[in-house]
């Protein structure tokens, strides 16, 4: 089994590569010293520093609000787009919508950010709206780029779904709106949840687009973090990272537990 060993070692190296930096963030967030190189004993002072830092707390609140609103908008719009692309057959402008619904996936963030900023500035000059830049403009920008991800996820679920369910409902006299809410929506609900979570994460994570379209009062968490880490390592950011990693790890562990349970049930059912 020489081949098996080489593979295991290579894969193991890959996992170490993936996790060593994350673990070092966690370990050094409990370091008493400001220097990353010196271990000066266990301490939680950086967590205390983090929770008294008004700039970071404000930014986190701004980011959460933007994330919830834009994920919700992106899920609604993305679901509509996915429905149109998979269920509406031919219509004028179909090709255009297909292109616009997926192009944001390959668009470099610097281009999306700059072009939206220039749009907002031009709109303000000609229409008087949006007045200045702030949370509204960030929400619009995030909704636009997150929507593409939702569209892809929901459209693939809609394609996999058994259309005879919808046909049966139609045959029984349900109108299109009723069919959507009573039949389609319950089936694609997991895809909507997945899409919302992805959109929320992408919105919370975005630095580049937000930097272009945000205004003075609406610094998001990544903008504040970036301005700090640009100057080098700072331990309170390690504490912030540890909190984020812990939240994500718990969420992923719950999801994983659910997945293995579902898989086991499926195997037993067979």
């Amino acid at each position: 089994m020489r081949r098996g060993w080489t593979l295991t070692i290579l894969a193991g190296f890959g996992f170490v590569f993936l996790y060593a930096p994350i673990l070092s963030l966690v370990v050094y967030s409990f370091n008493d010293s400001r220097l990353v190189t010196v271990w000066a004993g266990f301490s939680t002072r950086w967590y205390a520093a983090l929770f008294t830092d008004r700039a970071i707390l404000n930014a986190a609140w701004v980011s959460l609000q933007i994330g919830v609103v834009s994920a919700t908008l992106a899920t609604a719009l993305g679901t509509l787009a996915a429905l149109v692309l998979t269920r509406f057959g031919r219509f004028t402008g179909r090709l255009l919508l297909t292109g616009m619904a997926t192009a944001p996936l390959v668009m470099p963030e610097v281009i999306t950010g700059l072009s939206l900023l220039l749009l907002f500035v031009s709109m303000e000059l000609t229409l008087g709206w949006p007045a200045g830049r702030g949370m509204t403009t960030v929400i619009i920008a995030h909704t636009t780029f997150c929507m593409a991800f939702v569209t892809v996820i929901v459209a693939s679920r809609l394609r996999d779904m058994d259309e005879s369910l919808e046909e049966a409902a139609r045959d029984l006299g349900a109108g299109p709106v009723r069919v959507f809410f009573d039949v389609t929506l319950p089936v694609i609900a997991p895809a909507l949840v997945a899409g919302w979570l992805l959109a929320f994460t992408l919105s919370l994570d975005d630095l580049v687009i937000a930097s272009f379209v945000s205004g003075p009062g609406a610094s998001t968490l990544p903008i504040v973090v970036f301005s700090k880490v640009r100057l080098g390592v700072s331990p309170d950011i390690n504490a912030l990272a540890t909190i984020i990693i812990a939240v994500v790890a718990v969420a992923v562990a719950i999801a994983g537990w659910q997945m293995t349970r579902a898989a086991r049930r499926r195997r037993q059912g067979r």
């Binding site: 593979l7 295991t8 290579l10 894969a11 890959g14 996992f15 590569f17 993936l18 060593a20 930096p21 994350i22 070092s24 963030l25 050094y28 990353v36 190189t37 719009l77 993305g78 509509l80 787009a81 149109v84 509406f88 402008g93 919508l97 616009m100 619904a101 192009a103 944001p104 390959v106 470099p108 610097v110 281009i111 700059l114 072009s115 939206l116 220039l118 749009l119 031009s122 909704t143 929507m147 259309e163 046909e167 139609r170 709106v177 994570d205 630095l207 580049v208 990544p222 973090v225 970036f226 880490v229 390592v233 990272a241 984020i244 994500v248 969420a251 992923v252 994983g256 997945m259 293995t260």
Partner: protein
């Protein structure tokens, strides 16, 4: 999979503004206004000149006293883009850095994807979740973690010095090497997931057949596994290469001040030089030189039925 095509119900009212039309109009209008129109604004502003004003660019038309309009736009920004080697170098070095990182991600990701695809069931799900987990944490913080690893007094230098492998600390942070590491690290899950999706479907019977016919493991890999996983390789490489090429954060945090990447040049034109018109011109060229070929290539791959 019923044989009947679409039921003909909505056909008669196709051109009337009804609920169907409304459902199409909402996402269409949003994307037209916030995705398509911005590119025309981008093109328009790239024809202006920087000016000390708010917003900082010159108007395209000048209305004279007698009401005639004079066209003021010009291609000065594009002339500069072609003539100044800084921009050309930035485009080439973006492509180079993205390509090198993509190959490195493939070399690291392939064995991992293969290992996960061959793992027995409970372990396979856990390993997959371990690949996805870093993706859900903050991108910025994962790049930031490497500063502590690569810097002069960082963990890698300390370990190498402690083991006596090197005498003086290596310069790793603020080099192209650090940028490669940052890109590979950030986008590795995007490489592994499509590879895994492909490799998990690989029929073991092919491998057994190859072994029965006398092929060694290495021959089997290069003649059976690798060609069959080509769609996964293409999909994974696209998912790494595309975001890498416009990257700003990674070269800014980990690269040298001279590490030119086109996303960083655009950022600096806008934020440091406050030259919105030049930033717009850089973006327009990027659309045609980088984004358009990628979209064309992806459409071709999709039509061939491979990829994603």
């Amino acid at each position: 999979m019923s044989a009947a095509p679409e039921p003909p119900a909505p056909r008669p009212r196709r051109w009337l503004p009804g609920p169907r039309w409304l459902v199409i109009a909402v996402p269409m209008a949003w994307l037209l206004l916030f995705f398509l129109v911005p590119f025309f604004v981008l093109g328009r502003i790239s024809l202006s000149e920087p000016m000390i004003a708010r917003p900082p660019y010159s108007p395209l038309w000048e209305v004279l006293a007698d009401g005639t309009r004079v066209w003021l736009g010009n291609l000065e920004n594009y002339r500069l883009l072609v003539e100044d080697t800084l921009y050309r170098n930035a485009y080439f070095s973006s492509i180079r850095i993205a390509a090198v990182s993509t190959v490195a991600a493939l070399l690291i990701g392939y064995p991992m994807a293969y290992y996960i695809a061959r793992a027995p069931e409970p372990r396979r799900t856990i390993l997959l979740l371990l690949i996805i987990l870093p993706f859900w944490t903050s991108f910025l913080l994962r790049v930031y973690a490497w500063i502590g690893f690569l810097q002069r007094e960082g963990l890698i230098n300390q370990a190498l010095l402690g083991l006596g492998i090197i005498d003086a600390p290596l310069r790793m942070l603020n080099t192209d090497f650090a940028v490669y590491i940052g890109i590979v690290y950030t986008y590795l899950p995007f490489m592994i997931l499509p590879l895994y999706a492909n490799l998990v479907k690989l029929d073991e019977a092919f491998l057994e057949a190859a072994a029965d016919l006398g092929a060694g493991p290495v021959t089997t890999f290069f003649t059976v596994t690798l060609p069959l996983s080509l769609p996964g390789i293409v999909a994974g490489c696209m998912l790494v290469f595309i975001p890498a090429i416009g990257e700003y954060v990674i070269p800014e945090l980990l690269g040298a001040s001279g590490t030119l990447m086109i996303g960083r040049v655009l950022w600096n034109e806008f934020f440091s030089a406050n030259d919105w018109t030049m930033a717009a011109a850089v973006a327009v060229v990027m659309l045609f030189v980088v984004v358009a070929p990628i979209m064309w290539l992806q459409a071709r791959i999709d039509r061939q039925g491979g990829g994603t």
